[in-house]
Amino acid sequence: MLAGIKEGKFAAPEKLLDKAGNVLRVGQYWDYDAKKWSGVPQSKYKEVLGIGATAVDWDDDGDLDLVLGSFDGKIFVRLNEGSSTKPAFATESTVLSDGDTPLEVPGHDVIPRIADWDGDGRFDILSGSGAGGVYWLRNVGTRGTPAFAGPQVIIRPSDSKGDKANPTSPGERTQVSATDYDGDGDLDLLVGDFNGDGGQMHGWVWLFRRR
């Protein structure tokens, strides 16, 4: 987290800790000191590599909880058991499921974002994908008890990457955020990507305006 301080500046990055004082991770992580892959030993998801996070008041209790994305396509929730001013994150994540089946974003590489995409007053989850495209998991639950339908395609993975030097649509490993880009009152999408071009790498930023 980079805490915002006055005049649009940010404090140095700091790792988020859970209530037991451990660095908050889904499971697997790269140990930069030991230079090897490690896993959180007490986590039942120690093999799962977390790669993205966003914050939302999941349970409508007035503080921000975390929604975590993973390399293998699953989505996790880490509840804040403290308060908005003194967060105390749970020591374990909960995988987002439909019944007993974990929800998975096709193409994996989930970096979740929160937005009320359909304007029904409930927050939804958006995500890009390792295979490209953008997916929407619609909140079909209630305030304080969200529940999510399986992923729906908002943007199809590009069938043809075409001329990689001059692409006309996003490539792979997409990352998405929803915003009213042009101030017209509805949510548009910003999509970042990874696009190779004969050995050169690019990460473009695409705007999809809502019709």
Binding site: K9, W30, I51, Q152, I155, G192, G203, W204, V205, R210
Partner: protein, 112 residues
């Protein structure tokens, strides 16, 4: 020529398996429609995280509290590229401001 039973049974099982696989549902297509994509620029150059190992992660955020969203773009090196909005609310125009600083240094976060 009469076909052996094992061959007929094998073909039947293969057909049933194929039918099952084809019936598995692809993700639904959401009903909300979008305009064709536009690749964003800062000045005359496309915004690109390529020299920082690509993997662009964009976010619109009003960094200078002027009422207009600016653009923050994460990259694989763990940095954040900053593009300030020098246009209007309806027609943003971005100016490359380099990498985000935090705590007096170029901000960098681990990517694993």
């Amino acid at each position: 020529m009469r076909l052996p039973r094992w061959l007929i049974a094998s073909a039947f099982v293969s057909a049933m398996l194929a039918r099952t696989l084809l019936a598995q549902e692809a993700p639904e297509i959401a009903p909300i429609r979008l305009e064709p994509p536009v690749r964003l620029k800062a000045g005359d150059e496309f915004i690109d995280t390529g020299k920082h190992v690509a993997h662009a992660g964009p976010l619109a955020v009003d960094l200078n509290a002027d009422g207009m969203p600016d653009l923050l773009v994460g990259n694989f090196s763990g940095h954040f590229q900053v593009y300030m909005n020098a246009g209007t609310r309806a027609q943003p125009k971005y100016v490359d401001q380099g990498l985000l600083e935090a705590g007096g240094e170029t901000a960098k976060v681990p990517n694993w």
